[in-house]
């Protein structure tokens, strides 16, 4: 169905210029194509990576001006200027992204507003670029001797590029790099714990969106045959975002939808509104502005979501059965010390959350970390996984100090975790969420994903994900959207995701919360099996039945301090532990 849809769409595109439609329609279709290219980039940036930019028009301008200037004054072939434009855009986007993406998500859009304004005034004031009049007489493109100087001939080149870009974007979303892009949306803790370089991923998304805009600019220059600063100003930058939001930022085809609706609507409004309001001017921005607010209030997923809901959901074809298994890490022998905390300490201002705590976890052992709420268990977790830096003390993994390392570096050394509050990507399937855990076991990047050169590796990653889901007893729901799962299965999914990383040390933060009795027993069986395979497990859990029957040793914490360490029997017998949990008699 989806494939027929796509083929039908391409056929319509191929036939349209051959039909006796008015030239005006062809022109409109060309503008739709030019805008779709830019908005596709915004979809990747906004809907997928959770960032946004109001400066895409400026990147279009960078591509357009580079093309126009180089062909007009230096006679460079347009087939070379496109690369020059891309190179310029790459550098500009890299610098902007590198500066702003270290900080909260809203600094990037602010910086892009400033950048969009600056570039507009810059272009309008440089003599060599014709100031506000711009550059005139840009030659038409020539393609193997055919001059693309009519709307109809240009249409084919443009729409070939648009369709290819949309396919590449869709390919990207269904890949290791695409999962990483989705993972950085809404915070970087989970992404980093999976070994995703979240900063680099965000910069990549921003640069990618800018490059698509730049190509659109190059086409724009040779379509309009003239460039001036107006179409590259901030207003246009905002309009691009409007198209993305209206069409639906979560879907690549939403870009096409948004661009089409806005182009057609704008044309209608430009005729209608001046009649209605008298005078002249770009009154359509009133309607666009109000519509933008209404879409966000009432239909946050955009127009495409309505179509998407009516299309059948395609289940991923299981094509990885014969894929070779991923390489596994050498496991330390049973009994070897994997994790060693020595006087680890964490202070928040005057509060000591973890007070000189020491303990060891060995390969083939489950260590339970228990204590009342606020005892510092989760903070201890965060120290071990590098989410928080320790104030003092040392944390060693297999003889290597890790307390100064980043969360990602620690993950790459074989430390895997789950979260107390489930952190997942609700819009991806269970299988894809779990495959994110194997991020560090693959290496193919954005370009390979777009060109589908990553399929061999992708099959291996998905095979591993299925294997871990099977182990945890969830293979039945692997094609479901993760967001549709109940809390218990979501927690199990996180464990499968952690296992996908082939961990030496597994940290589980309240894995049994929300599970039913049967599920708890199944979980305990899985954990025993993992222990027997030689994995070291650190378990924070409140369900004492589960803890006492499962773990080898227990560390009890209270108010940030280690109270006692021993076997379950020793801990159960300890009066100090009873006092901590139940209070003392006075």
């Amino acid at each position: 169905m989806r494939r027929t849809f796509l083929i039908g769409f391409v056929l319509v595109l191929a036939l349209l210029p051959q039909l006796p439609v008015p030239e005006f329609w062809i022109t409109q279709a060309n503008y739709i194509g030019l805008y779709t290219l830019v908005v596709t980039g915004l979809v990747l940036l906004t809907g997928i990576a959770g960032l946004t930019s109001f400066g895409q028009a400026a990147f279009v301008g960078l591509g357009a001006y580079t093309a126009a200037y180089l062909t007009l004054t230096h006679g460079v072939s347009p087939w070379l200027t496109v690369w020059a434009g891309l190179a310029f855009t790459f550098v500009a986007a890299l610098v902007l992204g590198w500066i702003t993406l270290r900080m909260s998500g809203h600094y990037l859009p602010l910086a892009t507003i400033a950048w969009g304004l600056s570039l507009y005034y810059l272009l309008g004031n440089i003599d060599a670029l014709g100031k506000y009049d711009g550059l005139l007489g840009v030659p038409a493109l020539r393609f193997f001797g055919i001059e693309l100087n009519t709307g109809r001939s240009f249409f084919y080149l443009l729409w070939t590029i648009v369709v290819l870009a949309a396919l590449a974007a869709n390919n990207l979303l269904d890949s290791r790099a695409g999962r990483a892009l989705r993972a950085v949306k809404g915070g970087s803790t989970m992404a980093e714990a999976m070994g995703v370089n979240s900063f680099r991923t965000k910069v990549t998304a921003f640069v990618l969106a800018a490059l698509l805009a730049s190509i659109s600019g190059w086409l724009f220059a040779h379509f309009q045959r003239t460039v001036n600063p107006t179409p590259f100003g901030l207003n246009m930058g905002i309009e691009y975002l409007f198209m993305a939001v209206l069409g639906g930022v979560g879907h690549v085809w939403g870009a096409l939808m948004g661009a089409s609706v806005v182009v057609i609507l704008k044309d209608q409004l430009q005729v209608l509104l001046p009649k209605l309001l008298g005078g002249s001017g770009n009154y359509e921005i009133i309607v666009f502005g109000i519509l933008l607010v209404l879409v966000l209030q009432y239909a946050r997923d955009g127009l495409w979501a309505f179509i998407e809901a009516r299309l059948p959901r395609v289940q991923r074809k299981v094509d990885w059965a014969d894929a070779p298994a991923l390489a596994e890490r050498a496991r330390p022998p049973h009994g070897e010390v994997v994790l060693d905390l020595k006087d680890a300490r964490k202070e928040f201002g005057g509060l000591v959350a973890v007070n000189d705590v020491s303990f060891q976890v060995r390969a083939g052992e489950i260590l339970g970390l228990i204590g009342p709420n606020g005892a510092g268990k989760s903070t201890t977790f965060n120290l071990v996984t590098g989410v928080l830096p320790a104030t003092r003390g040392s944390i060693t993994l297999l003889g290597e100090r890790i307390d100064a390392l980043s969360s990602r570096a620690i993950a790459s050394r074989g430390v895997s975790r789950t979260f107390q509050h489930v952190k997942m990507i609700p819009g991806m399937t269970v299988l894809e969420n779990v495959a994110l855990g194997a991020h560090l076991r693959g290496s193919r990047g954005v370009a390979a994903a777009m060109l589908r050169l990553d399929r061999a590796e992708e099959r291996r990653l998905l095979k591993e994900a299925e294997k871990q889901l099977r182990r945890i007893g969830m293979q039945g729901s692997m094609h479901e959207l993760a967001g549709n799962l109940a809390l218990g299965p979501q927690r199990l999914m996180e464990i499968a995701r952690a296992l996908c990383a082939d961990p030496t040390l597994l940290l589980l933060d309240e894995p049994a919360a929300g599970l039913r009795l049967k599920e708890k027993q199944a979980l305990a069986d899985v954990l025993r099996q993992l222990r027997d395979e030689g994995i070291a497990i650190l378990l924070v859990e409140h369900d004492m039945d589960l803890v006492m029957g499962l773990v080898d040793r227990i560390v009890v914490m209270e108010f940030g301090t280690k109270l006692i360490e021993g076997t379950p029997e020793e801990v159960q017998a300890s009066p100090a532990v009873r006092a901590a949990y139940l209070g003392t008699e006075h």
Binding site: F54, Y121, L122, G187, I285
Partner: protein, 346 residues
């Protein structure tokens, strides 16, 4: 450049800087309380200045119609919401009447006063009365439903609101620019330096307003409630502070400060329907100096932006906007190295 030119540029920059400071403070205020990055701040500046300009010409400005329309929409939205939830009718109608009362009184006043061409001071007060209530109404219609959305979504809403208000500005005021008469025509000369009465008023009003805000936040219960909302929305709500009310109040303050800024700069420069955007954004650049969080840093940033602009226009007048808006990049760089990572949201 000699000393006298430098001092003229400094005075000029400081005057504009005082205006930017007001706008920067409003930006920080709105962001702290509602997490809204308030791009349309500048529209209130133009609305203020141009509403006064039309009153000067004896016309009823379009902002009056906007005020009535928004109030009607807000009241209708409230009534519809109340009916849906099955609240008693008389209470619903009373609250709708409360929403409509001030706008109707202000509109009637404007209707009566416009052709009379009353003194400038009265017209200025009327302008403030017209533009200030627009703030809470814009908040109710555009943002309130999305109060718990991410900063990013709120920012996109801001941009949409900016588009709509700019377009309406064109409808109300036309494409021509206006320059308002000075509030005080006096000139004071000290050597080469010439200080206009208007500049003195700008300084005086800005400083007075900043002091008033300081007292409001430090001394009044209402102000403390706003601060509490800024620190922790949920916590404030549990203490019985209405975060909705806080949002409306902060937008009211922002609209008031915007309109006041418009009145203050109206006599010093020609303003067009879309001039406010750039002016507001300069306040914004200033606010970013303090990371959208610190009031004093925003004020210092505003002074810096004003000076940068006046010296920039002396050395390279065509590029003054480029200079002002490009400075945001090194500022962000500096902040990113100072504060490092800070990106855990929702």
């Amino acid at each position: 450049m000699d000393f006298s030119i430098a001092s003229i540029l400094m005075l000029d920059g400081a005057t504009n800087g005082a205006i930017y400071a007001l706008l920067a403070l409003a930006t920080v205020l709105v962001f702290a309380i509602t997490r809204v990055i308030f791009i349309p701040q500048g529209e209130f500046v133009t609305f203020g200045a141009l509403t006064l300009a039309l009153l000067q010409m004896g016309k009823v400005p379009g902002t009056v119609w906007l005020l009535l329309a928004l109030a009607l929409l807000a009241a209708a939205q409230d009534v519809a919401g109340a009916l849906k939830r099955g609240l008693p009718l008389d209470r619903t109608l009373r609250s709708a009447a409360a929403t409509l009362a001030v706008p109707i009184i202000v509109a009637a006043l404007a209707w009566w006063a416009a052709p009379l061409k009353l003194p400038l001071v009265f017209q200025s007060l009327l302008t403030l009365a017209i533009v200030t209530p627009l703030g809470p109404l814009v908040y109710r219609l555009a943002y309130e439903k999305l109060a718990d959305a991410t900063v990013l979504v709120l920012l996109i809403v801001s941009v949409g609101t900016h588009f709509a208000l700019t377009g309406l500005g064109l409808v109300f005021f036309g494409a021509e620019g206006f320059r308002n008469p000075s509030f005080w025509d006096a000139r004071f000369n000290a050597g080469a330096l010439s200080l206009s009465g208007q500049a003195l008023i700008i300084f005086g009003v800005s400083i007075a307003l900043i002091l008033a805000l300081f007292l409001f936040f430090e001394r009044s219960l209402r102000g403390k409630a706003l601060r509490a909302t800024a620190v922790n929305r949920l916590g404030a709500r549990l203490m019985g502070i209405s975060t909705t009310g806080a949002g409306r109040l902060s937008f009211g303050l922002a609209a008031f400060m915007g309109a006041l800024s418009g009145l203050l700069i109206g006599p010093t420069t020609t303003l067009f329907y879309d001039s406010g955007f750039l002016i507001g954004l300069k306040g914004f650049v200033a606010a970013i100096f303090g990371g959208l969080a610190s009031y004093p840093a925003a004020a210092v940033g505003a002074l810096f932006v004003g000076l940068l602009e006046s010296f920039g226009s002396f050395y390279a007048s065509a590029f003054k906007e480029v200079i002002v808006f490009t400075v945001i990049i090194p500022v962000l760089l500096w902040r990113s190295f100072q504060h490092g990572h800070d990106d855990e949201e929702e």
